[in-house]
């Protein structure tokens, strides 16, 4: 049997261009099939990591997903705000352990500005249980101080003491500059792999002050209406009247459902309370169609690549009739001839799988910084999981099944041809 193994390898090597292309086709399907699962899983665990230990997210009445997206993932804009009174009331409920207020809607060079208070630093968790910490500096104390995330610091090259100008509205195009009062960077947070990295943090009072100034300078009109303006213009205490949302941590998870219902039925104003894990679950369910479509495409590409392999094996059968007759004359059994073709197919599929694995690993390593910067996803790619071994084994088996047709033909022919080396 051993000479046949060597022969198969040498014969394949002799046809290495076709072999490489066939293996590449298999490799692409491996990349697609495993890549989709990898990114899906990494995104799931990264999203889950961003809402670690937050039991509820509360905001004005809107769809749960939208509330979660703008408050935790800083994707999109808050539609309505809620009153500080409401927040304070819920914060004072006995089953509530902590709350973190969030006021959003402003940006700095495309990065979201989050107005909050000290509880943000104290209670926000990422990757299950890690709390925020500083690369340098401290949390904000004065009105015009800002604490920036790691990604903001890296991308914009900011360091402690730098002056930062905040603009109204999100997105790269700035509507209005609050030039009058630049913020001073007093703290830089350690990287978390969550949207915190892309955020700039100021106090609620600072946000309020920004919007006061805006209204006192009519020249800075921006034709962009928002809800932050319904406060009294005549006092300057800068204490916030409105926030966009707040995060809630409970004393005990048993109170969760009851509190969620209580908040949804809150009388003073219409509220939405979201259990982050549930909302994410909904998000995944919504994305399941996309996921399944990608899976289907992966399966189709695999099918096409196996068909390509079948074609290659079949087309070589004729020109290899002589090779088979020579092997028979040397004492090889028809079974060995059949095994030769099966082994060849296995070798092709195996090199495809290995090549695909290598391409995938390279691709993920290359894509990781981009995904992290753009999506705030922190992706962890481990070794090959057992489910993936299964997929790889199934691919190899499928290749064997497909190769059975040409192999059986070779068997039949070498029985019929015998030692007849025709033409």
């Amino acid at each position: 049997m051993r000479p046949l193994v060597v022969l198969a390898i040498k014969s394949l090597w002799n046809r290495r261009l076709t072999a490489l292309l066939t293996a590449l086709a298999v490799a692409l399907s491996v990349v697609l099939i495993l890549g989709v699962e990898r990114i899906h899983q990494a995104a799931q665990s990264s999203f889950m990591g961003s809402v670690a230990q937050t039991d509820l997210v509360v905001g004005a009445r809107t769809s749960p997903l939208q509330l979660l997206l703008f408050s935790v993932f800083r994707i999109g804009n808050p539609t309505n705000s809620i009153s500080v009174k409401t927040w304070k009331h819920i914060d004072s409920l006995p089953e509530v352990k902590w709350t973190v207020p969030l006021s959003l809607g402003d940006s700095h060079r495309g990065y979201p500005v989050v107005a909050t208070n000290d509880s943000y630093l104290e209670h926000l968790r990422f990757r299950q249980s890690e709390s925020l910490s500083f690369v340098g500096g401290r949390w904000f104390e004065a009105l015009h101080e800002v604490v920036i995330g790691a990604e903001v610091a890296d991308q914009l090259n900011y360091s402690l003491g730098d002056k930062v100008v905040v603009s109204h509205g999100t997105g790269d195009v700035t509507f209005t500059h609050h030039d009058e009062h630049p913020f001073k960077v007093v703290g830089i947070l350690r990287r978390t792999g969550t949207p915190v990295d892309r955020s700039l943090h100021i106090s609620l009072e600072a946000m309020e002050a920004l919007h006061h100034e805006e209204e006192e300078h009519p020249g800075h009109s921006h034709g962009h209406s928002h809800d932050h303006h319904h406060h009294h213009h005549d006092h300057h205490d800068h204490s916030a009247q409105k926030i966009s949302a707040f995060l809630v941590g409970l004393e005990s998870p048993r109170a969760l459902l009851l509190l969620q219902r209580q908040i949804s039925e809150y009388e003073a104003e219409p509220l939405t309370a979201v259990i982050p894990g549930r909302a994410l679950q909904q998000l995944w369910q919504g994305l399941e169609i996309v996921h399944n479509t990608l899976r289907l495409i992966g399966a189709l590409v695999l099918g096409v690549s196996l068909l390509a392999m079948l074609l290659v094996l079949l087309s070589t059968l004729n020109e290899r009739r002589r090779e088979m007759a020579i092997l028979r004359a040397l004492g090889a059994s028809p079974w060995a001839v059949m095994g030769l073709l099966l082994f060849e197919a296995l070798l092709l599929a195996l090199s495809g799988v290995v090549l695909g694995g290598a391409l995938l690993a390279l691709g993920l390593v290359g894509l990781k910084p981009w995904l992290e910067a753009k999506m705030g996803l922190s992706l962890h790619f481990g070794g090959i999981a057992s489910g993936e071994w299964m997929i790889l084994v199934v691919i190899l088996l499928a290749a064997l099944v497909v190769a059975f047709l040409p192999a059986y033909q070779a068997y039949r022919r070498s029985l019929a041809d015998g030692l007849r080396v025709s033409l």
């Binding site: 051993r2 000479p3 022969l7 040498k10 014969s11 090597w13 002799n14 002589r322 090779e323 007759a325 020579i326 028979r328 004359a329 040397l330 004492g331 090889a332 059994s333 015998g418 030692l419 007849r420 080396v421």
Partner: protein
């Protein structure tokens, strides 16, 4: 065993063969004996069944009737894989053309015989190393270029290819060399030289030769000559 004559290497008795679905037999051989180291020339026109007969002797096809004995062993008693092994161990084949695997070097092609049969490998390495034996064989067969062993098989002329095929067939001194018109692609001069080298090498290794061809000018080099025409089945109106 009969009287004083040595036990035959190959013994065909009442051997008939017809292709499946064909009532008429292609040939019928009442008896044919080949002694060890004997050289037999078998002449036959195209389509007379020469290649088919060699397939029977090689154990690749099974006869419709009759018996084949090789080295005292009845093919009818042997399993297919036992016949494959016997072929690997004791028979060398040369065909008209395309004897070599084009993607292997000359040396790798020749060594295939030893790889398929431990028996032949041990016989080839009896007095020298395998590499030396390969080198000796190709030189004995008139392939004298120093780099010949490293060349790819598809870079050789047809005459060279046939010699390499001959070296592979004879490596490890099989008992029987089966040659199916190995010279029909060669020109007259090369043909003559090839036959002589082949036969003298067979003589040295005491290998019997079963040589089939339609070209009777080669018959003079052999101990005995038979014609396929003598083996036409009954009632088919053979030669008068």
């Amino acid at each position: 065993m009969q009287n004083s004559s040595p036990a035959p290497l190959l013994w065909l008795q009442n051997l008939g063969f017809s292709w499946p679905g064909q009532a008429r037999e292609l040939f019928f051989i009442p008896e044919l004996k080949l002694s060890p180291a004997e050289r037999l020339f078998l002449k036959g026109a195209s389509g007379s069944g020469k290649t088919t007969l060699l397939n029977l002797v090689g154990g690749v096809l099974s006869p419709t009737r009759g018996e084949i004995q090789f080295l005292g062993r009845s093919f009818s008693q042997l399993s297919a894989s036992a016949k494959d092994q016997l072929r690997a161990d004791e028979m060398g084949f040369i065909f008209q053309l395309f004897n070599l695997l084009p993607f292997l070097t000359v040396e790798e092609n020749i060594l295939l015989s030893a790889q398929f049969s431990a028996e032949r490998k041990s016989r080839a390495t009896h007095s020298r190393s395998l590499k030396e034996e390969v080198r000796r064989l190709v030189e004995a067969l008139g392939l004298n270029e120093s780099d010949i062993l490293e060349r790819r098989a598809d870079q050789l002329s047809v005459g060279q290819q046939q010699r390499v095929a001959c070296a592979r067939a004879l490596l490890g001194r099989p008992k029987l060399l089966i040659a199916d018109e190995p010279t029909s692609a060669l020109d007259a001069d090369t043909k003559e030289a090839f036959i002589q080298l082949l036969l003298s090498e067979c003589e040295q290794s005491s290998t019997a030769v079963l040589f089939v061809s339609h070209d009777s000018s080669l018959a003079q080099h052999f101990d005995r000559k038979l014609e396929m025409a003598d083996f036409l089945p009954d009632g088919s109106g053979g030669r008068a």
